[in-house]
Amino acid sequence: MKLLKYSLLLTMLVISGCWDRTEINDLAFVMGTALDLTDDGNILCTLQVAIPSAYSGGSSGGGGGMQEKHFIISAEGKNGNDIHRLLQKESSRRLFFSHRSIVLISERLAKHGIQDTLDIFTHDPRNRLKTYIMLVKGGDAKTILQMKYPLKQIPIEAVKEIEGSGDDLAVTLRDFYISLLTEGLNPVIGVIEPAINVNEMQRQASFRFTGAAAFKNLKLSGLLDERETLGYMWVTDKLKFSRLTAKLPEGNGEVGIMLTHADRKIITQIQQESVKFKIVLDGQGSLVENNSSLNISEPKDLKIMKEALEDASKRLVEDILFKIQKKYKVDCVGFGQEVYKNNPELWTTLKDKWEGQFPETDIQVEVNLTIKGAGMVNSTLELQEKENDE
């Protein structure tokens, strides 16, 4: 009996072991993927693959600063599986996707529809759902992968870092699929744009985050600019911190606030067949800039500033709501989802006509800001000088 037990254990070692063993130096670490649409309707997939030997040691790598830290391979195909097979033929090491930080989709492909391209990410377990997905505005997605970035050894890691910072809209594949499958919600992803700094001294290609892209039925329906994205993030409760500025009605200047807390509440008012929404936005922050002649230490002036900021915020949010309602006609904030949560039965009847009804829905916005602090100086420098003169 004992012999049997031990021999069973041993067989387990022999049978189950080793089959998926891969040495770390037999892997090609894919850092980023760019998906483009070719002229003949195929998908062009470009991969950025890290070159580990370029990393060897901080000390010995001093002279090898010029060495490329990554290389690029690409393949064209009809579907993800084919492309993967072709890509693997280009790499002596097994392509390893778990460390990929970002998937880039060109604007052209997004307009064409991404249902064919995205499926492989859901089925293949080697893909990480925490990978960020981004749309590349204008031009090919692969240009982003070809760019250099001075602060990071793998340029695409920089994109990941900016995404992770919370300043911009960061959407992972997982978030994308969740919003795709949620009732009454359309997905939105971040947008990146190649920015060529035409500086004679140092010609450097770089990139910039420029807002968000709204999808409907896995097709791009429209882009939101940076300002609108800020409003969108606030409305969808994704805003953690940000900076707001407002022009003051009097006092001839602008005032700036740094938001440290942002909150939103959507109140759904259901009457018979019609649905109305009220968005209540709460914000908390401290004053960081005051270019006007108003005095912060005056409660009266402070109130003016606060109202100006609230107005500006309200306009910010109303602008984005107008855009998605009237222009793009896509419910990417999730008002439908609010209906579904509040009244699932109503939603079953509303579901099919929501696309038509959403642009006509009445949405009210209310902003409450709290100014917590006024910074280090209680009034503007100019004001101080004037007081001294008097």
Binding site: D20, E23, P52
Partner: protein
């Protein structure tokens, strides 16, 4: 031909042993009143024993004479001359000596046994009995700090090879008649004295009985060290974990005795055995109880952490880098990949190689003369570490991991326990290299199953964690303040007393 002679001689010796049995085995031989006959009897017994001295001493005044027999190197000659020979010659005494007389007997076997133990046998003419006096004078090491369990704060004396000294070290710490010492002799030829020590009322009667009954049937020719005894009485000889603690420190023995454990001292061995032992006492150093408790608790946690490292660090590295690369942060995976770029071996082999080299270095470090120690550390550390990495034979992370593991094993205070842990690393490494994290989980499960099933003298090895006992828990994961612990043990003893 000389060689042949020697063989013959040996043969004749052997013949004797077959025909004429040795007198030390008691066969009822008694001394006669003829001193010459007695002498020849003893001389025959100690044939070819060049170190046994038979001296005839004659009194100066009358013609009384004595025969003294002793082993040359086991007694103190000066005392012998002063207190035995001189009084005899000057006829001050006839049969009284200012020395403790250990034995008065007529049996030859008694005399032989005493002589072998280092006593002096005194036979008086015309008397058929023998006196033996103890004049111990065998070489003795002075008390030193135990080399295997050094402490910074705490007593620095350690056991030596004489059981009498060792017992005195314990006795001086426990001045109570409750401290019981039972002698027994083990070893057909070595006749090593063994002492079972326990505190009356502290140690359970059943435990003491168990120790006695396990020691009694031991049959071996020679006991060279308490390690020989340990192997006979441990519960599970095939376990890598030691189920009996051995220590060189009298304070450890006393501490354990106070907790109701039983200690076994073996003559000629500076290591005392303590039973029962648990997994957790293997992680407790005596110094824990001499430094302040918050620090001691912290140090204990460090040990818990590093005992895990000692078993798991290389297997985890191997498993994660060969099976689960997605678990490593991106930047780290790239630098590990970079360092492995030129390495020709798979990670398992690499780790095994370095582990084996490290073990060899360690073994060499123990065996080498002290003066060579530094040379070995330079060759081992610099040449193997630096050069092998630079040459690309092995990768730097593996060297780092193995070094951490090496250090980890040394945080375990008990030497024999650390040895067991070291041994477990290799099967774990193979499991990790073949099955990844799954293998590690299997291996760890196996270890846990084994450890929780193991017993030491009736006590479960993993207690008090499994089976769980809260009161004892307080001395496992934290080191309770001494006053709290004292109060607790006082209370539990009272309860026990009431229960009985």
């Amino acid at each position: 031909m000389k060689w042949l002679n020697r063989v013959k001689l040996f043969k004749s010796y052997n013949n004797k042993s077959q025909n004429q049995p040795f007198l030390e085995e008691d066969r009822g031989f008694v001394f006669t009143s003829d001193i010459d006959q007695n002498e020849s009897m003893l001389k025959e017994e100690f044939q070819y024993c060049a170190d046994v001295v038979c001296r005839r001493i004659e009194g100066q005044l009358n013609d009384e004479h004595w025969l003294i027999v002793y082993i040359d190197n086991l007694i103190d000659k000066k005392t012998l001359e002063e207190y035995v020979v001189k009084p005899m010659i000057s006829n001050i005494v006839t049969d009284k000596f200012p020395l403790e007389i250990t034995n008065h007997s007529t049996k030859v076997a008694d005399a032989v046994r005493d002589i072998l133990e280092g006593h002096v046998a005194i036979l008086t003419a015309d008397k058929n009995n023998v006196m033996t006096v103890a004049i111990p004078g065998s070489p003795k090491r002075s008390l030193e700090e135990p080399s295997s369990e050094p402490v910074i704060r705490g007593p620095k004396d350690g056991f030596i090879e004489q059981i009498s000294t060792n017992l005195s070290l314990i006795r001086s710490r426990l001045k109570t008649s409750k401290l019981k010492v039972e002698y027994m002799t083990l070893g057909e030829l070595s006749k090593t004295r063994i002492a079972i020590i326990y505190l009356w009322g502290f140690a359970k009667e059943s435990l003491v009985d168990e120790v006695r009954s396990r020691l009694k049937p031991i049959q071996l020719d020679g006991v060279l060290d308490s390690g020989n005894i340990e192997e006979y009485i441990e519960d599970q000889p095939f376990s890598p974990f030691p189920q009996i603690h051995s220590t060189e420190r009298p304070d450890v023995v006393v501490g354990e005795l106070l907790e109701g454990k039983v200690s076994i001292l073996v003559d000629t061995s500076p290591f005392a055995l303590i039973v029962p032992a648990t997994f957790w006492t293997g992680l407790q150093a005596s110094e824990d109880y001499y430094i302040r408790w918050p620090v001691a608790t912290f140090v204990r946690w460090i040990r818990f952490l590093f005992i895990n490292f000692a078993i798991l660090a290389p297997p985890l590295y191997v498993a994660i880098t060969t099976f689960h690369q997605e678990m490593i942060p991106t930047n780290l995976v790239l630098s590990i990949a970079a360092s492995r770029e030129a390495v020709p071996f798979p990670a398992v082999l690499e780790a095994l190689l370095i582990e084996v080299i490290f073990e060899a270095l360690r073994e060499a470090g123990i065996r080498l003369p002290k003066q060579m120690g530094q040379a070995i550390s330079i060759v081992g550390g610099l040449v193997i570490g630096q050069a092998a990495v630079q040459a690309g034979f092995i990768s730097a992370p593996v060297v780092i991991i193995v070094s951490i593991t090496g250090i980890s094993a040394f945080t375990i205070p008990r030497y024999s326990f650390a040895n067991g842990i070291r041994l477990l690393r290799f099967p774990m490494l193979v499991l990790a290299g073949t099955m990844g994290l799954y293998g590690i989980v299997l291996g760890f499960l196996g270890i846990m199953l084994h450890v929780t099933n193991l017993r030491s003298f009736g006590v479960l090895y993993f207690s008090p964690v499994s089976p769980y006992k809260w009161t004892a828990f307080k001395d496992v994961f934290i080191r309770m303040p001494i006053w709290a612990k004292a109060a607790l043990s006082m209370k539990s003893r009272q309860e026990q007393g009431e229960g009985e």
